[in-house]
Each structure stands twice: as C-alpha cells, then as structure tokens.
C-alpha cells in the first residue's frame, strides 16, 4: 500500500508538470514556430515552409508600429515615474510610526484588488470631468497608478535591508534627511528599485483592461492594436508580434538576472539559506 501511494506521488508530479507544459509553455512555442509560417492563411501545424513574411507584415504595418512606439514610450515613462514615486513612498512607509505605515501600505496596495476594468471605467469619467483629452496623458497617468503597488513593494523590500544604525549615525553626524535618502537608502535599495522599474515597464507594456477605455484614434498601445486585430482578422502577424514580445521578455529577464539574480528575486526561504551560497 505504501509503495502504491508513493507511486501516485510521482504520477501527480508528472501529470502536473505535463499540464504546466501543455497549458503554459506549449502554446507559446507553437505561436513562435507559426510566426515563421510562409502560408498566407492560418494553416495546420507545423508549417510546411518557413519565411519572414509575417515579420515584414508586423514591422511594416504603420498600425502596429504606432502602437509599439507609444507602448515603449509610455512604459519607459511609467517605469521612471512609478519607481521614483514608489521609492519615496516606500521610504516614508518604512520610517513612519506603525499606525501610519499600516494604513498607508494597505491604501497603496489597494489597486491590486480593484479589477482593471472598474478602474479604467472610472478614469474615463475622471478624465472627461477634469478635461484631459489627449489619450497619451490618460494612459500614462493610468499606468503609473496601476504599477505603483509593485514599485512600492519592491522598494520596501530593498529598504528593509538597510541597517537602522547606519541611518542614525549619518543623521547624528549632521546629514540632512534628504542626504540620507540619496546617499544611503537609494544606493543600497538601488537594485530593488530597478527591479520595481522593470516590473512597472512590463506591466505597462501588457495592460489592456484599463488602457482600452482610454485610447484614442491617434494614441493606442501595442496590446490594444493586437486585440483589435485578433477580433477583426485572426492572422499570423499577431504571432510575429507575440514572438517579438517574448523576445523582449527574455531580454528583461536577462536584465533581472544581471541585476539581482532570479534565485534572489524569489528567495530561498528560512530553512535553505546555505545551499545557494
């Protein structure tokens, strides 16, 4: 009986790993291969002949490229603004009295709970009320608010590693508060802040639910362009766009690995500190 149960253990493991493969990895791999299909239609897999025609379609389409341009621009600005504001807020949370920091951090994490569509719908009213009509500002502001919880969280983790005594000695030697923040907290928490910026960039590049309420005919993001193509004409130029995004993701992961190391992003837990050293 015992042996039998141990075998089911392995069975569960194998089933769960193959489901992971089938649901999470395989579709993406098929998309990548399909993006090189030379046929003009979405044919059966695997493609008979390979070509770069869908990439030509993607990179020469002014519709996609406009979306890509605004996506990258907005994501870059979002990453900078959100990580800067998030870092300052995280410093404030870390050095506030308990009661204040508790309230503040739960307020700051609240956008994580609110469904994107609800916030997008609300921002639609908000922007029409205060009279902002250029979609660029609408999308940028929206992306800053939806990424702030992530940048605040990662910054908090970085500041957590700063020894209190360092700050106290700097202050007692006459440093101003802002000098302490600039010369002690920022350098030590730097890689966490950068990780947060990277998260903000990638979430901004990815958002649809909030953005779809705020786009205009001249300003839209790549995901919005892909969605509208998926609904109107399901062709393989979207596969080429997807492959391009996967490539960008890999670059981002590489930067993350360089910055902090993937193992450290996730953490080893309290019982396994020694193994990775």
């Amino acid at each position: 009986m015992k042996r039998y149960l141990d075998n089911t253990n392995w069975l569960i493991l194998i089933v769960s790993l193959s489901l992971f493969g089938a649901v999470v990895i395989l579709p993406v791999l098929i998309t990548i291969v399909s993006s090189f299909d030379s046929r003009r239609f979405v044919g059966s897999f695997p493609p008979e002949d390979l070509s770069l025609r869908w990439y030509r379609e993607f990179f020469f389409s002014s519709y996609y490229m406009r979306g890509l341009y605004y996506s990258v621009l907005i994501a870059t600005l979002t990453a900078i603004l959100s990580s800067a504001i998030g870092f300052l807020a995280a410093v404030a949370i870390s050095y506030s009295p308990r009661r204040v920091s508790g309230t503040a951090s739960s307020l700051f994490l609240a956008p994580l709970i609110v469904p994107g569509v609800v916030l997008g719908f609300g921002l639609l009213f908000f922007f029409s009320k205060i009279g902002i009509s250029w979609s660029f500002w609408k999308i940028l502001i929206a992306h800053v608010i939806i990424t702030l919880p992530y940048t605040i969280r990662t910054s908090l983790a970085g500041i957590h590693g700063v020894r209190q005594s360092m700050i106290e000695s700097a202050l007692s030697l006459g440093a101003t508060d802002f000098r302490v923040i600039r010369q002690i907290l920022l350098p030590i928490a730097g890689s966490s802040v950068a990780t947060g910026a990277l998260f903000a960039f990638s979430f901004s590049m990815d958002d649809v639910a909030v953005t779809i309420f705020l786009t205009g005919t001249d300003v839209y993001t790549l995901p919005i362009a892909m969605i509208s193509n998926m609904k109107s004409d399901f062709n393989l130029s979207i596969a080429a766009a997807s492959t391009f995004i996967v490539l960008m993701t890999l670059v981002m992961l590489f930067i993350l690995e360089m910055l902090v190391g993937i193992d450290r992003v996730v953490g080893r837990g309290i019982y396994r500190q020694d193994v990775s050293r």
């Binding site: 998309t31 807020a89 404030a92 609110v114 609800v118 700050i167 995004i245 890999l250 996730v266």
Partner: protein, 290 residues
C-alpha cells in the same frame, strides 16, 4: 520607541506625490463610478443626465436572469480555474522548493518568471491558436464528445487561459510557503512510519493552508477581474462581467448600467477579500492553538 529617524516634515514630503496620485486618480475615479451608478439612464443620449434624481434602477436591472447569468458564469469559471491551478501548481511548487539541484531550481524559476512576464496577449493568442480549428481544438472536442465551436469548448478555452495566467503566480507563492515549512517535520513523520505521500498530505499541506487559501483567493480575484482572456477565448459565447462593462461603454453607451455593474463587481471582490481575511485569521488562531 515610536520615534523615527526621519523628521515628520520629510515624511510628509515623501508621502506627498503618492498620496496625491492615489487620491486624484484612484479614489476619485472609483467614487465617480459609484456616483454614476445611481444616475438615470436616458436612451439615445451619450452618458447620463446630470441633474436627474438618484435612482437604483440600474441595480434592479442587474437582477434580471440575463445579467445574473454573467455573474454566475464569471464566478463559476473563475472558481474552476482556481481549483485546477491550485491542484497542479502545488506539486511543482513543492519540487522547486525542495530540490537540491541548483540547475533544476534556476531553470524552473526562469521558466516560471518568464511565463509570469510574458504578456497575457501572447498567452491568449497562443491558446486561441492551439484551441482553434488548425490546432488541437478539433481533436480535443471530439474526445470530450463535443464540437469545436460549442459553448462548452469555449468555456474550456477560457479555463485554460485563466489557468495559464495564474499558474506561475500560484506556483511561486506556494513555493515561498513550502520553503518556510521545516523539511524535518516531513522526514520525522516518515521515520515514524508514514508514507511520503501521507507525510506531505498530513504534515506539509496543513502547515501551508494559509498560503493555499491566499493563493486561491488571489487566483479567484484575478480570474474574476480578467478581461482579455474571456474577451478573446470566450469568442462572444462566454463573457465575464468585465466584458459586459466594456460593452456598456463601447457599444451601448449606457454608462449608468456599466457603472452599476462595475460597482457590483468591486463590492464582490472586496467581499471575497474580507471573508478570506477573516477565515485566514481563524486558521492562524487554530494553528497557534495546535
């Protein structure tokens, strides 16, 4: 004790930008949605009339069976996806947490983080491609005794989409929890005669129950809030409340009704969180007693 190294004025300056942003572009839009939901809808005009009396008609309309169906579909499909994601992420999380092989761990983590970062659009498109007529959709539907364009198959596509969306998050979070369970407890149980399976189920799993609950809640709320996944994979046959809210804006221009839907969704999600928080507190109290 309560003193802080930084002065109160500095803290105020630091909090300033974030508070400003939260109040103006987070709290006020949400309150505008709530306010809009009590306005009267005038057909033909875009938006609602400003000076019309407050009404709860927009909420009453939600109790029609057609609307309730959207809510029930959203809840049911999100719940199924949550359970599937939990069942299949736990073993993977366990292995990545306990493995001694650095290569397996870093490799597994890279794939998980990669899948976490990969745009949901890529996932959705990929799943639409493989569930479509040229992918495995036809074969799978025949195996399940259905046909490729049936509502049932579209529901399966949505579940697959949601699972692939939440799987990396669930696995990474569970992994963190399992790492913090002392592995010696399991070994002790085995040396006292339990099988490995029993040791995991009776020792490790209960110690992670709070994490499992919170991962479940996260998956469920992510599912309920999902927009792109049902929009593309539901093919119009399976729609979530989020999709309905969007059509109130894009097709019908019935803002008060959309606002009522949005407010109900928001309240629903908040309720789930409150209930989860309460049950997690009960769980931890029981854990402390044991």
């Amino acid at each position: 004790m309560g003193s802080t190294p930084l002065s109160r004025r500095t803290l105020l300056w630091l909090f300033g930008p974030a508070i400003l942003i939260y109040v103006t572009v987070f709290m006020s839009p949400l309150s505008m949605v709530i306010a809009e939901s009590f306005r009267q809808y005038v057909p033909g005009s875009i938006g609602s009339s400003r000076d019309a009396p407050a009404t709860i008609a927009n909420y009453q309309a939600l109790f029609q069976p057609a609307y309730l169906g959207y809510f029930l579909d959203t809840i049911r499909i999100s719940f199924i996806s949550t359970i599937v994601a939990l069942i299949f992420s736990y073993p993977t999380a366990h292995i990545l947490a306990r493995t001694n092989s650095k290569r397996l761990r870093v490799g597994g983590l890279s794939v998980l983080l990669g899948m976490l970062f990969v745009s949901v659009l890529v996932k959705v498109y990929s799943i639409a491609l493989i569930m479509g007529p040229v992918g495995f959709g036809g074969t799978l539907s025949r195996l399940l005794g259905s046909y490729p364009t049936s509502r049932f198959m579209n529901e399966i596509s949505v579940v697959v989409g949601l699972v692939s969306f939440v799987y990396p998050i669930a696995t990474l979070t569970l992994m963190n929890a399992i790492q913090n369970v002392n592995p010696n407890y399991v070994t002790a149980a085995v040396s006292l005669g339990a099988s490995w399976t029993k040791a995991y189920l009776a020792v490790e799993l209960p110690l992670c129950r709070q994490a499992i609950l919170s991962v479940g809640i996260t998956c469920f709320t992510l599912g309920v809030s999902a927009f792109v996944i049902p929009l593309i994979l539901g093919k119009g046959q399976v729609s979530f409340v989020t999709n309905l809210i969007y059509t109130r804006f894009s097709e019908v221009a019935n803002y008060p009704s959309g606002a009522a839907l949005a407010t109900s969704l928001l309240i629903g999600v908040l309720l789930v969180f409150v209930v989860a928080k309460a049950s997690s507190m009960i769980l931890s109290r029981r854990g402390a007693r044991a």
